[in-house]
């Protein structure tokens, strides 16, 4: 019974809106644009976050990456602390010992992968490329999600055989002028011959992932079995030009730790940090915890998102003020109607309900249209800018909630003004 009464009052409120269709539409526009831009901003924010997640996710959210870094003044002879120099050999970075200790003492670890790097010239006939040789264990590809475009990845058998095989990026093939089927092709690296067994697809080497992987933009990485490098070449590398030469000895350039449980990643990284800082007072390493990076970048992104939405909300606020403004004018214009309704038995709350019905209807309708507008805006932005945008169900709910709130808050003052009118003078109003 009560609810039917409410329905009738609601219908009466809607009739008034239909009585002034043009004004209703114009009043609605503010909310339409406001909600539209809020939706678009939320979608862009969510899109940026998704991209971030993908980019950093490539590094493996469960991984901890430790890179060797050359200490600040490697040329400096004054031996400070544990000497980082042996004669003229530049000796720094992660050691086999670090790798062993991590494997032996840190709990909750799935895999620990050693990586050694060396700069070598790779030859194809008379063409050559300054390439980076990655000595990696077979799991390396899986841990970083590096996809093999053709051929195969390195295998445990390669390790055992100390096989002279390699996996390359497709970019390298182009630089070396290899256009036919690269599988089985033989490259000369320094003075040794390596057979190409696999080619990596390129799409994994972008943005933040590239830096953490120590990959470079020239795509000249060559992956070879860890044991092959270690047993056949050792870790020392020479570079020299007429007269003088320099040697670098970095046992391990990178250690990749894969943690068993996602919620143990941060804790494990702290334990490893402890261990390494004891072994390396000179700090010749850096740790990258993708999960942590993600959290930080996310925080920044979220601040940015809030700023975006706040700006968009200003137009929504203006829309709300528009509704309040029109409603106040409406109250004046319809003073007589209010007087009539009061004379016919409307209580103050009926009058309030009537005006609030009108404003919330305007703003909800505006909100729904705004959501469509938002979808359109997002489509256009995506087409013209190529940005990623994601419209989440939550953003739609947020938009609708906000528009209801706008309707109620912008209606409350005009509605109370209307209800406070004295019926007799309202009836006499011209």
């Amino acid at each position: 019974m009560i609810s039917r009464k409410k329905k009738e009052l609601l219908r009466m409120g809607l009739q008034s809106l239909l009585g002034y269709p043009m004004r209703t539409v114009l009043t609605m526009l503010g909310v339409v644009f406001g909600v539209g831009s809020v939706i678009a901003m939320l979608a862009l924010g969510a899109g940026a976050e998704k991209e971030l997640l993908q980019e950093i996710g490539r590094l493996g959210i469960q991984n901890i990456i430790i890179n060797s870094v050359e200490p600040d003044q490697p040329e400096n002879n004054s031996s400070s602390g544990s000497s980082s120099r042996r004669g003229w050999i530049n000796y720094y970075g992660l050691k086999f010992k670090d790798h062993r200790q991590i494997v032996e003492t840190i709990p909750g670890i799935e895999r620990v992968l050693p990586v050694h790097l060396s700069k070598k010239k790779a030859w194809n006939g008379s063409r050559w490329v300054e390439s980076t040789l990655f000595a990696v264990e077979p799991d390396y590809f899986e841990v970083f999600g590096l996809e093999i475009a053709s051929g195969r990845a390195l295998s445990p058998q390669d390790e055992e055989d100390l096989a002279r095989v390699c996996v390359v990026r497709s970019g390298l093939l182009q630089e070396l002028g290899i256009y036919e089927d690269p599988i089985g092709y033989v490259l000369t690296i320094e003075d040794q011959k390596f057979t190409i067994v696999g080619v990596l697809s390129e799409d994994r080497f972008q943005g933040y992932a590239q830096k953490a992987l120590v990959a470079d933009a020239r795509s000249s990485e060559i992956y070879i079995p860890y044991q092959t490098v270690l047993k056949r070449q050792g870790t020392r590398s020479f570079s020299g030009s007429a007269g003088s030469w320099e040697a670098t000895d970095v046992e391990l350039n990178q250690i990749v730790v894969e943690v068993e449980n996602l919620d143990q990643v941060i804790l494990t990284s702290r334990t490893i940090e402890n261990l390494l800082s004891r072994n390396h007072p000179e700090k010749d390493y850096e740790m990258i915890v993708p999960l942590e990076v993600l959290a930080q970048r996310r925080k920044t992104q979220q601040v940015f998102n809030i700023a975006l939405v706040a700006i968009a909300s200003i137009s929504l606020l203006v829309g709300g003020i528009g509704i309040a403004n029109i409603m106040l004018a409406t109250v004046t214009e319809r003073t007589r109607e209010i007087g009539v309704r009061r004379a016919l038995g409307a209580q103050k709350r009926h009058i309030i309900a009537q005006f609030l019905t009108e404003t919330t209807t305007i703003s909800i309708l505006g909100g729904v249209l705004g959501i469509f507008l938002g979808f359109g805006l997002v489509q256009i932005l995506v087409i013209f800018t190529g940005w990623t945008a994601v419209i989440t169900p939550i953003s739609i709910m947020v938009a609708l909630t906000i528009s209801v709130a706008v309707g109620i808050t912008s209606g409350i003052y005009p509605a109370r003004r209307a209800a406070a009118l004295d019926p007799i003078s309202a009836l006499r109003h011209q």
């Binding site: 019974m1 039917r4 009464k5 009738e8 009052l9 009466m12 009739q15 008034s16 239909l18 009585g19 002034y20 007589r336 109607e337 007087g339 009539v340 309704r341 009061r342 004379a343 016919l344 038995g345 409307a346 209580q347 103050k348 009926h350 019926p423 007799i424 009836l427």
Partner: protein
């Protein structure tokens, strides 16, 4: 002597908050019994509308008591007064006071919105009332599409919807030419014939004479005219 449906005792009405306040009604006594048709006359500014507003519970007297159907309504809350207006009182105004964006039928239904019974239930009732005032062919017209006389008949239909105790009319023919005025008055006569209690303000002696009882407001008091 039957119980009066309206009973005013020592009604005073002052306007304004600061002295000198305007003393419009100065101790009015008036009883109206069920089924009476009373006309109120008086010079402009004598307080006719003031009295009618009090009778219609749009306003409350500064002093005195007002019993409507045996119930004291002189000091009620705003919500309570709204309910009394809705259930017990039917208003007919000089300027019709229809709501312009609503149709004839919807205008007649407005009082139902604020009462207990639902519009759907009373739809037939509304149609038959509109039929009885001769407007069954105009249900979905807007007030702007009607003549003055038709508007006033819609207003009369609206005043009857909740079957009120009394009908209050403030110069119902004031905005009409004499012919349509006559039609409206005939409608009032027939309502009186149906046993309705009607109180009508008018300037026109002839109109006043259609009522069975005439009173005049003079110097803030009610004077009965001998008919």
């Amino acid at each position: 002597m039957p119980q009066p449906i309206i009973s005013l005792e020592g009604i005073h009405k002052y306007y304004g908050e600061v002295e000198p306040r305007l003393h419009v009604l100065k101790g009015i006594h008036l009883d109206v019994t069920q089924g009476e048709f009373v006309s109120i006359m008086g010079t402009s500014g004598s307080g006719k509308s003031t009295l009618l507003n009090l009778l219609g519970c749009l306003d409350v007297p500064t002093e005195g008591s007002y019993l409507l159907g045996g119930k004291d309504v002189s000091q009620q809350s705003d919500d309570e007064l709204s309910r009394i207006r809705n259930e017990d009182i039917g208003f007919i105004f000089q300027s019709f006071q229809l709501i312009p964006q609503l149709t004839v039928l919807e205008n007649v239904q407005v009082p139902l919105l604020y009462g207990e019974s639902s519009i759907r239930e009373k739809e037939e009732h509304c149609r038959s009332i509109l039929d009885s005032v001769g407007l069954s062919h105009r249900l979905s017209h807007r007030p702007s599409q009607l003549s003055g006389g038709e508007c006033q008949r819609v207003a009369i239909a609206r005043s009857l919807v909740n079957d009120p105790l009394i009908l209050l009319a403030d110069e119902p023919t004031g905005n009409l030419d004499s012919k349509t005025g006559q039609e409206v008055l005939e409608l009032m006569d027939s309502l009186h014939g149906d046993g309705r209690t009607i109180i009508m303000i008018t300037h026109d002696q002839e109109v006043a004479l259609r009522a069975q009882r005439q009173v005049r407001i003079h110097d803030g008091l009610v004077i009965e005219e001998a008919s």
